[in-house]
C-alpha cells in the first residue's frame, strides 16, 4: 500500500480509509491538545507552589512564572535556606481534555451561583430561541424576495443595488440603534441576527435562482406553461434544493451573529454563560460551552442534511428500487448506460407488451419503420 493510494489526485478513497481519516481529523487535534496538557516539558510555563520554603511571598497553591521560581530557588540554595517546592502546570485558561470532558456533565448539573442566573440548558435554550426567531423572520422575507430578484429583472434592479450596499454595514454596528428602538431584551438581539442574515440571504438566493437551467424554463414554455406558473411549477422546484443548501450555510452564519447579538442590551444566552464562567475562572465550563455551540451546529446541519434527502427524493443518488444509479449516465458513460438499459428491458419485455413494439432488441434496427 503505497503513498499513491492515499494521495492520488482527485482519487476516491475506499470507505474504510475515509472513515479512518474522518476519525483522525478529530483525533489529531485532540492528541495535540493532550500532549500540551499532559506532557510537562512541552509547555507548562508556571510552577504551582506546594511548599513556599523560605520565600516569604510564596504561598501554597500559588502559581508563579518558571523563571521567577528558578531565581528564588537558586537564591534559597545559595543562602542555605529551605528551598521552595512546586510542580509545573499550565495556566488556568488552558484546560486539559479530561477537565473539559467532565465539564460537559458538571456544567449541566451544577446549579448557578446566584438564584437569578440561568442554568446552562436554559442559556442554551435562550440562544436557540433567539437564533430561531432571527432566522425565521429573515427567511420569511428574504427567501421570497431572493426568488423574485432571481427571476424578474425588475425586482433585481429595484432591490439589489441597495442590498449590496447594506450588506457591507456590519450588523453589530446597529447594536446601539436596536437597543434604543427595541429595548434591552431579546428583540434587539433578534434584530441583529435578522440584519446579519437577511441581506446575504436575498443575494445568495437570488444568485441560486438565477442559475436555474434556462433550458428547463424553455421546455416548460413549449409545453404550455406561462406567467406565474413558470415561477411556481418550474423555477422554484428547480432551485429548491440549492436554496435549501444555501439556508443551511446561512444558518451557520446566523450562529456567528448570535454571539455578537447576545452582548447587545442585557447579555443573555450562551454568551452570558461563557462570560460568567470566565469571570469565575471556570475555564473548563467555558471550553465546554464553546464546544457545545459546535456540537449543536453540526447536529442541526446533519439533521437538515438528512431532512433534505426526505424532502427531495430526486436528489437521492441510489434508490432501492432502481439499479445502482449512474449519476451522469447519459453523456458520461454511454456504453454502460445503453448496456443496463437493454438488459433491463430484456427482463421487462415479457410482462410489457408495449416494450415489444418499440423494444430495443438487437434486430429492431432492421425492423420496418
Amino acid at each position: 500500500m503505497g503513498l499513491r493510494d492515499w494521495l492520488g489526485l482527485r482519487h476516491e478513497l475506499p470507505h474504510r480509509r475515509r472513515l479512518v481519516l474522518t476519525i483522525l481529523s478529530f483525533a489529531l487535534p485532540l492528541a495535540l491538545w493532550s500532549i500540551v496538557s499532559y506532557v510537562p516539558w512541552i509547555w507548562h510555563p508556571l510552577i504551582r507552589v506546594t511548599d513556599p520554603g523560605s520565600v516569604d511571598y510564596f504561598m501554597t497553591g500559588m502559581e508563579v512564572d518558571r523563571t521567577v521560581f528558578a531565581r528564588e530557588l537558586a537564591d534559597a540554595k545559595k543562602d542555605n535556606h529551605a528551598p521552595p517546592q512546586g510542580y509545573r502546570v499550565n495556566p488556568i485558561y488552558f484546560q486539559p481534555p479530561h477537565a473539559v470532558a467532565r465539564a460537559f456533565y458538571t456544567a449541566f448539573v451544577t446549579p448557578p451561583r446566584l438564584p437569578t442566573e440561568p442554568w446552562l440548558h436554559e442559556s442554551l435554550g435562550h440562544s436557540i430561541r433567539t437564533i430561531f426567531w432571527g432566522f425565521v423572520i429573515s427567511s420569511v422575507f428574504g427567501v421570497p424576495l431572493g426568488i423574485l430578484c432571481g427571476t424578474y429583472r425588475f425586482f433585481a434592479r429595484l432591490q439589489e443595488p441597495f442590498i449590496e450596499f447594506f450588506r457591507y454595514l456590519p450588523a453589530p454596528a446597529f447594536g446601539a440603534l436596536c437597543v434604543a428602538i427595541l429595548g434591552i431584551e431579546d428583540a434587539p438581539k433578534i434584530a441583529i441576527i435578522f440584519i446579519g442574515t437577511f441581506f446575504q440571504q436575498v443575494l445568495v438566493i437570488a444568485n441560486t435562482v438565477r442559475k436555474v437551467d434556462p433550458a428547463l424554463i424553455e421546455a416548460a414554455q413549449t409545453l404550455g406553461a406561462r406567467g406565474h406558473r413558470l415561477l411556481t411549477r418550474v423555477v422554484i422546484p428547480a432551485a429548491i434544493t440549492d436554496i435549501y443548501t444555501d439556508m443551511r450555510i446561512l444558518l451557520g452564519w446566523a450562529w456567528t451573529y448570535l454571539i455578537v447579538a447576545e452582548v447587545v442590551g442585557t447579555m443573555s444566552g450562551i454568551t452570558y454563560f461563557i462570560n460568567q464562567q470566565a469571570r469565575y475562572r471556570h475555564f473548563d465550563n467555558v471550553y465546554a460551552a464553546i464546544a457545545m455551540i459546535g456540537i449543536i451546529g453540526l447536529t442541526c446541519d446533519m439533521l437538515f442534511a438528512w431532512l433534505g434527502t426526505v424532502l427531495f427524493p430526486w436528489k437521492r443518488r441510489a434508490r432501492k428500487s432502481a439499479r445502482a444509479a449512474k449519476p451522469k449516465a447519459a453523456a458520461g458513460a454511454p456504453e454502460s448506460a445503453a448496456e443496463t438499459e437493454s438488459s433491463r428491458e430484456a427482463t421487462d419485455s415479457s410482462s410489457m407488451p408495449a416494450a415489444r413494439l418499440v423494444g430495443e432488441t438487437p434486430d429492431s434496427i432492421t425492423s420496418e419503420a
Partner: protein
C-alpha cells in the same frame, strides 16, 4: 490499387412509389407555413445575419430534416418557430394562423434532455397536460399511455437521473407528444447520444412517427440521420445562413437500416456532402506541415 468511384444514380430520380408519395404529401394541408422569415443579431449598425429570408411549407405528417454546418442558423430557425426567440422579420403560421411566443401546439425536444429532475417520469409527461388544465386522473391515464408508446411504462416512477440518455430522450418525446402538438420540433435531439444509441433512437422515432402521425421538423448535422429519417431535406449553408437546396428524399419507405448502403442513399449522401462541404477541400493544401520527432531521429 486504383480507386474506382461508384457510379451513383441521380438523386433526383424517384421510383414511381416515392413520386406518388410526394404527390400525396403535397395534397395534404399545410401545418406550418414560414414566410420570408429572417433573423439578424446585433445592434448599432453591426448587424450579423443569422439566416436570410427563408420560406418553407410543411405538410401534415411530413418529416422534414434541416441540415447544415454549425453557424448556418438552423437552431436559431427552429427556436424562432418554437417561439423561444423573436424573428427580425417574416411570419410563422400554424394551420393558417399566425403565432408568436411559445405554445403547446409546437412541441419541442431539445438536445439536452431538459426533463424536470424533481418530477418522476410520469409526472414529467403529465406536465403539459396539467398546464392545459386536464384533471389529474385523465392526465395520469394519458401519461401512462404515452409512456407505453415509447416503451417506458415500467419506469413511470423513476426519476430522470436514474435513466440513460436514450431513455431520457424517449421521455422527452412522450412529454412533447402528450400535448398533441400540431408539429413536433426536434433540435438535434440525438446529438448527445453515442452512435449506437442514436441508431436505435432513430428507428424508434420512425416507429413513433408512423403510429402517432405527427408532423416533424428535425434539426441535425448528421448526414446519415437526415437521409434515414426525412421526407424532404432542407440543406442550409453558413455565412450568411441560407437555404441551399430542398431535396426530396428518393429512398422509399418503410426505411430499414440496411438501406444505408443502397445506391440511392449514397447518391443522396454524396449530394448533401457536396452541398455542405463544397466540391473539394483546397484549404487542406495551405496548412503548414509539422512533423513529430520520433525516437532515434536527430533533432537539428
Amino acid at each position: 490499387m486504383s480507386f474506382a468511384p461508384l457510379k451513383l444514380p441521380d438523386y433526383h430520380e424517384q421510383s414511381p412509389e416515392v413520386a406518388a408519395r410526394f404527390r400525396r404529401i403535397r395534397e395534404r394541408p399545410v401545418v406550418l407555413r414560414v414566410r420570408d422569415l429572417y433573423k439578424m443579431f446585433g445592434t448599432n449598425g453591426t448587424a450579423h445575419v443569422a439566416f436570410e429570408k427563408m420560406s418553407l411549407d410543411v405538410h401534415r405528417r411530413e418529416f422534414i430534416c434541416i441540415i447544415g454546418p454549425s453557424g448556418c442558423g438552423k437552431s436559431t430557425f427552429i427556436r424562432i418557430v418554437a417561439g423561444l426567440e423573436d424573428a427580425t422579420g417574416g411570419e410563422i403560421l400554424i394551420d393558417g394562423h399566425p403565432v408568436s411566443g411559445p405554445g403547446p401546439d409546437r412541441g419541442m425536444v431539445f438536445q439536452g434532455y431538459t426533463l424536470f429532475p424533481w418530477r418522476t417520469v410520469k409526472y414529467n409527461v403529465m406536465f403539459g397536460l396539467e398546464m392545459r388544465g386536464k384533471d389529474s386522473s385523465t392526465a395520469d391515464a394519458e401519461a401512462r399511455q404515452w409512456l407505453d408508446m415509447v416503451g417506458l411504462g415500467k419506469f413511470e416512477h423513476a426519476y430522470p437521473h436514474e435513466l440513460s440518455g436514450g431513455m431520457k430522450q424517449r421521455v422527452a418525446i412522450a412529454r412533447a407528444l402528450a400535448n398533441e402538438p400540431r408539429i413536433l420540433l426536434m433540435d438535434e435531439p440525438f446529438g448527445a447520444l453515442d452512435a449506437l444509441t442514436r441508431c436505435k433512437m432513430q428507428s424508434y422515432l420512425l416507429q413513433i412517427w408512423k403510429k402517432v402521425e405527427v408532423t416533424v421538423l428535425f434539426i441535425t448535422h448528421d448526414l446519415d440521420e437526415a437521409c434515414y429519417l426525412a421526407d424532404r431535406i432542407v440543406v442550409m449553408g453558413a455565412n450568411p445562413g441560407r437555404v441551399l437546396e430542398v431535396i426530396e428524399n428518393p429512398i422509399p419507405r418503410p426505411r430499414r437500416a440496411d438501406q444505408l448502403l443502397s445506391p440511392e442513399f449514397l447518391a443522396l449522401k454524396h449530394r448533401l456532402d457536396e452541398l455542405i462541404h463544397g466540391p473539394a477541400d483546397a484549404e487542406e493544401e495551405k496548412l503548414p506541415v509539422i512533423k513529430l520527432t520520433e525516437a532515434g531521429d536527430e533533432v537539428e
